[in-house]
């Protein structure tokens, strides 16, 4: 009886997942705004903690903006698969006749658009507030765009590993932070190089290499991790 339901093409399966999750995310603007609010508040904490000296702030601005972006990304990723796990739709995805990694990529792509991409778009504003020179603002945006792709993918893997654990959010952060170190280093160095008038191209290229590599390899790890979690 079920044999006559036609199999969707991979592209169709991916885009259905993507559109469904994007609609769900856009439907609750509060959920999309929360990470941005977190980002802005934590960025504000640093001048409050370190003093308003503009020279010192602009000196630490590249690293600061990137580290806070990393923390926001961690915070958002920790809840990525929670709702799907709770209501059983993850199990349905796992037994669906499509590669789990493609289906998950639809979800992760929508998630990235609603979180990482927005974060990258908003970051030049905070760059200006921290006194980041204009030369660094564009590179900040590009580096965060590429970097949040890696961060979202690696964060999704961490979330997949810990979704079946109670209060797994903190453990997920502990697992993921070491893996995010290269992204952080390449991103901050790109912005720093742009600020001092050097050449950020090398670092942006390395970042995009990391992003492409993550896109190719991490989904496999995410689907393997999800299958393990479903067994727990």
């Amino acid at each position: 009886m079920f044999a006559d339901i036609p199999l969707l093409s991979l592209r169709e399966a991916f885009s259905r997942q993507f559109r469904r999750h994007l609609k769900a995310l856009m439907g609750s603007p509060a959920d999309m705004a929360n990470p941005l609010l977190f980002y802005s508040m934590v960025v504000t904490l640093f001048p409050l903690g370190l003093g308003p000296d503009p020279e010192r702030l602009s000196a630490i601005a590249p690293g600061l903006l990137w580290v806070v972006a990393l923390l926001s990304s961690l915070m958002v990723s920790s809840k990525l698969f929670d709702s799907d796990y709770e209501d059983g739709s993850l199990e349905q995805l796992a037994i669906a006749p499509y590669p789990l990694s493609i289906l998950l990529m639809g979800e992760i792509a929508a998630h990235w658009l609603a979180t990482g991409f927005l974060l990258a778009a908003v970051s030049p504003l905070f760059g200006i507030m921290l006194g980041l020179p204009a030369a660094g603002l564009g590179v900040l945006f590009y580096s965060l765009m590429l970097g949040t792709i890696c961060l979202t993918l690696i964060g999704a893997m961490g979330s997949a590993l810990t979704v079946s654990i109670r209060r797994g959010g903190l453990l997920m952060s502990l697992l993921i932070i070491p893996l995010n170190v290269p992204v952080l280093i390449f991103g901050t160095t790109a912005v720093s190089e742009a600020v001092i008038g050097g050449n950020p191209q090398t670092w942006l290229t390395l970042l995009s290499g990391l992003a492409m590599g993550s896109l190719a390899l991490v989904p496999i790890a995410i689907s393997a991790a999800l299958r393990v979690s479903l067994d727990n």
Binding site: I165, P178, I185, A221, D231, N232
Partner: protein, 238 residues
């Protein structure tokens, strides 16, 4: 190879000669390095901690790959003994990483005047420690221990791919931000009178790693199969 009774018998035979060899090599290497090798031209006698620091660091790094390889074997071929190997290697590697970091700090104080430096190798070792601890924490967090072992295998494989990337990125990061005050002159070629005891200690640490992992595996098997007949017979015989 995959059966616990076979492994228990095999490891018992191996440990019997591995234990005295390990102790012998460790004592010999320590005596040679600490007493016989000549003092360094620049650092005097304080360089001798290298005979613990370098072997610990080398074996800690290799140990991560052993753990990841065991994880991969257990994931691909579903061999339970590979699971046990991976779990046995994790704490040993973590402790060796910690030993490398602490002995490095102890070495750094008289040599560079500071306990800690955000140097490429030190920072990469610290991240390696975090990776080890993450694998151990992940295993404890899962309820179903079979799924836990597979999760740890996935995590350690991802970490394996990452370790060269992390090391290279930290290396570039450090060389860009190299602070002017701490001079890291290139390592002069090590003299053979200091090299040989170092190689001996590295071998001794490898033996120590193998010994500890085998003992850990035996302990875990003894606990897991404590009711089994074959274990009772083997243990009572000895």
């Amino acid at each position: 190879m995959g059966s616990p009774p076979w492994f228990f018998r095999f490891s018992g035979a191996v440990v019997q000669w591995l234990l005295p060899i390990t102790i012998g090599l460790l004592l010999l290497g320590a005596a040679w390095g600490l007493l016989v090798a000549p003092p360094d031209f620049r650092q005097g006698n304080s360089y001798r901690i290298i005979y613990i620091h370098v072997p610990a660091a080398v074996v800690a790094l290799v140990g991560y790959y052993v753990m990841a390889l065991a994880g991969a074997v257990s994931l691909i071929w579903r061999i339970k003994m590979a699971d046990v190997t991976m779990r046995a290697a994790a704490p040993v590697g973590a402790v060796l990483t910690a030993v490398a970091l602490v002995t490095g700090a102890i070495w750094g104080k008289p040599t560079w005047g500071t306990w800690w430096v955000w140097d490429a190798r030190i920072t990469s070792m610290l991240i390696l420690l975090f990776l080890y601890l993450g694998v151990m924490a992940l295993f404890e967090a899962y309820e179903n221990k079979t799924a836990a072992a597979r999760a740890c295998a996935v995590l350690s494989l991802v970490g394996t791919v990452n370790i060269p990337i992390i090391y290279k990125s930290v290396d570039w990061w450090y060389s860009l931000h190299q602070p002017a005050s701490i001079k890291f002159t290139g390592e002069s070629a090590i003299d053979s009178s200091m090299l040989y005891p170092l190689l001996l200690m590295i071998t001794a640490f490898y033996c120590f790693f193998a010994l500890t992992v085998l003992l850990n595996m035996r302990a875990e098997l003894m606990w897991n199969h404590r009711e089994a007949n074959w274990l009772q017979q083997m243990v009572r015989k000895v």
